[in-house]
């Protein structure tokens, strides 16, 4: 971890201040163009561009196009680029040494050939161990592969000829006995792993060791328009993820989880689920703070912001909400006390009506306060009004839960969390517009 932290600030331009300026190009070629860092689990697209697995998956989820050439591509078609990973790992190990050497020659002014020779010698002396290690490990891997081929047992990658047929749809080599199920599943059953470790393989001991660390299965993205709120919540809960928040929040969380998970499946050394969950948590926290970060100068714009953070809003205005609830409660109590009085007397304990700060709508003092409050909190909640109304009458008994009842519950269950004030067509929920790039292109107005 500390090593990665140190690499974080490194950049290809570091080399420009050293005599080894040409290394800058090597350094830059080993970096992902999206995150500008060295490739982590490099994947190659069908247009032959390489990115980190996580980066390209995020990009494809966002707009379905290769970031480098804007060609349409799919996550399923990504393939692991092992040669690049090996290059990156080797360069990452060698980089500090080469860099130190290059810096040293700058500091010592004109380098005496003997000195630099010594350095090089030293460097060579130091280098072989790691290099040897990688080579030997590769050799062991190769011998394993030889075992596999010799034993001619069915391992997806290594027996392309015997017992295999070409799938007429995707042109992949598929085992004859599985070709029918392969086609039935729309050619999607084989995840693009370079090593298939699912097959049980009792012969070689190293192989059975690998079986212990079984590769996780990839997850599929959902068609959110076909998944109901409850089903989505259940899916999240089944995965052991937080199942709260708005519909939009749940969708984004699920998408990010699938992205993280699948990128992890590509990795040579996959991380544990707990670590992935921690990453998802970090992601959620860094993404969720967006609404708070924007200035509250233009509250109208803030609410219509598609990233509007309801949780932050409700904590920020907690005081006002509590006051309003107290207000409503006292009114109900007053009404119950004098049911027949034509003009409602103001009870002495009623606090002054405060407008919700920033919401733009000063509350009317008439009517149940929770109604106006919910209107201010977000239009999408009005579906819940009728259910909430009877509660308002019995409101006296529910003191500790009132806040969560009013704010968390309604927010959970509405697909259209976009206020209709946006310039986009009112009938199309915003997330559809973002996901379905094709739809937007079609609906673009002609001149």
């Amino acid at each position: 971890m500390s090593k990665r932290e140190a690499l974080e600030v490194s950049d290809s331009t570091d080399w420009l201040e050293t005599p080894l300026r040409s290394v800058a190009a090597v350094d830059s070629a080993l970096r992902c163009q999206v995150c500008k860092d060295f490739y982590t689990t490099p994947m190659i697209t069908s247009c032959s561009h390489t990115f980190c697995s996580l980066c390209i998956r995020r990009c494809l989820n966002n707009d379905g196009k290769c970031p480098a050439c804007r060609t349409v591509d799919q996550e399923l078609r990504l393939r692991f680029n092992g040669a690049v990973e090996e290059l990156v790992e080797a360069f990452k190990t060698a980089r500090p040494e080469i860099f130190a050497l290059a810096k040293k020659s700058v500091n010592s002014g004109v380098t005496s050939p003997k000195r630099s020779r010594e350095d090089l010698q030293l460097d060579d002396d130091e280098k072989p161990p790691p290099r040897k290690r990688t080579r030997s490990s590769r050799i062991t891997r190769a011998t394993q592969e030889v075992y596999v081929v010799d034993s001619d047992l069915d391992d997806g990658d290594f027996v392309p000829e015997e017992g295999c047929v070409q799938c007429p749809i995707c042109n992949k080599q598929v085992k004859q006995e599985t070709i029918n199920t392969h086609i039935d599943r729309g050619c999607a059953d084989e995840p693009p792993t370079r090593r298939n470790e699912k097959s049980t393989f009792p012969i070689s001991p190293s192989k059975s060791l690998q079986n212990l660390t079984k590769r996780p299965e990839r997850l599929a993205q959902l068609h959110y328009s076909m998944v109901k709120d409850n089903a989505l919540r259940k899916k999240l809960a089944d995965l052991g993820l937080p199942a709260g928040g708005t519909r939009q929040g749940m969708e984004r969380r699920y998408t990010e989880w699938v992205t993280l998970w699948n990128a992890n499946c590509d990795a040579t050394h996959p991380k544990g689920k707990t670590e992935l969950k921690r990453e998802l948590d970090t992601w959620e926290r860094t993404q969720g703070s967006r609404a708070q970060a924007t200035s509250s100068l233009n509250p109208g714009a803030q609410i219509r912001d598609r990233d509007f953070d309801k949780a932050a809003w409700s904590t920020q205005h907690d005081g006002s909400f509590k006051e309003l609830i107290a207000n409503a409660r006292s009114k109900v109590r007053a009404k119950a006390a004098t049911p027949d009085s034509p003009s409602r007397p103001t009870p002495p304990l009623e606090p002054p009506v405060t407008p919700i700060r920033g919401a733009g709508n000063p509350l009317k003092s008439q009517g149940p306060a929770n109604v106006s409050m919910m209107e201010a909190g977000g239009e999408e909640q009005d579906e819940h009004h009728p259910d909430q109304q009877p509660d308002a009458v019995n409101v006296v008994g529910m003191t500790p839960f009132s806040k969560s009842r009013f704010f968390d519950e309604p927010g959970l269950s509405n697909p259209t969390s976009q206020a209709p004030t946006s310039q986009y067509s009112n009938s199309i929920p915003i997330f559809e517009k973002e996901k379905d790039i094709d739809i937007t292109t079609i609906t673009n107005p002609q001149p």
Binding site: D11, C35, D63, T286, A293, N444
Partner: protein
């Protein structure tokens, strides 16, 4: 630390080191808003001797999402005259919209694109309907649906 912060940290290190001629960093406090100055280097009479200030606003999804880039006016920092730049600084450029954006773009490449967009311009005018747009627009640039019709820029 979000991926946006990480990536912007790298870009900042690069920006501090060396920027192409005519582009200068003014402030980069935090990873939410940066200011840069750009100049048009050739002898285009519309922009000669002028410096323009750009404001970059980054969301936490950068570089998956494009940054919000606008020209900001200030003392001796006018808004450049261009048929695709509104007088409130909003720029109509497909590169900055969700359709044209690609995560391989960066602050430097955006500045260079804007430089060349200005260099290639010969019309000393504002977009059609500028006054009306500036008076009525309350939206943020990324919520505006531009129709990118002009491929000559």
């Amino acid at each position: 630390m979000s991926f946006a912060t990480k990536r912007l940290g790298k870009e900042l290190a690069k920006v501090h080191g060396n920027l192409p001629p005519g582009i200068a960093l003014v402030t980069a406090e935090g990873f939410q808003e940066w200011l840069l100055d750009i100049q048009v280097l050739d002898a285009n009479p519309i922009y000669m001797g002028q410096t323009y200030r750009l404001k970059f606003k980054f969301s936490s999804s950068y570089p998956i999402e494009p940054p919000e880039v606008t020209f900001v006016a200030g003392p001796d920092r006018p808004i450049p005259m261009h048929p695709h730049i509104y007088s409130n600084g909003i720029i109509c450029l497909d590169l900055l919209g969700t359709q044209g954006w690609s995560p391989v773009q960066n602050v430097e490449s955006i500045c260079m694109s804007l430089q060349s967009m200005l260099t290639g311009n010969t019309k000393n005018e504002r977009p059609e309907g500028d006054e009306q747009f500036v008076a009525s627009n309350r939206r943020r640039p990324r919520d505006i649906d531009f129709y990118y019709h002009d491929n000559t820029v």
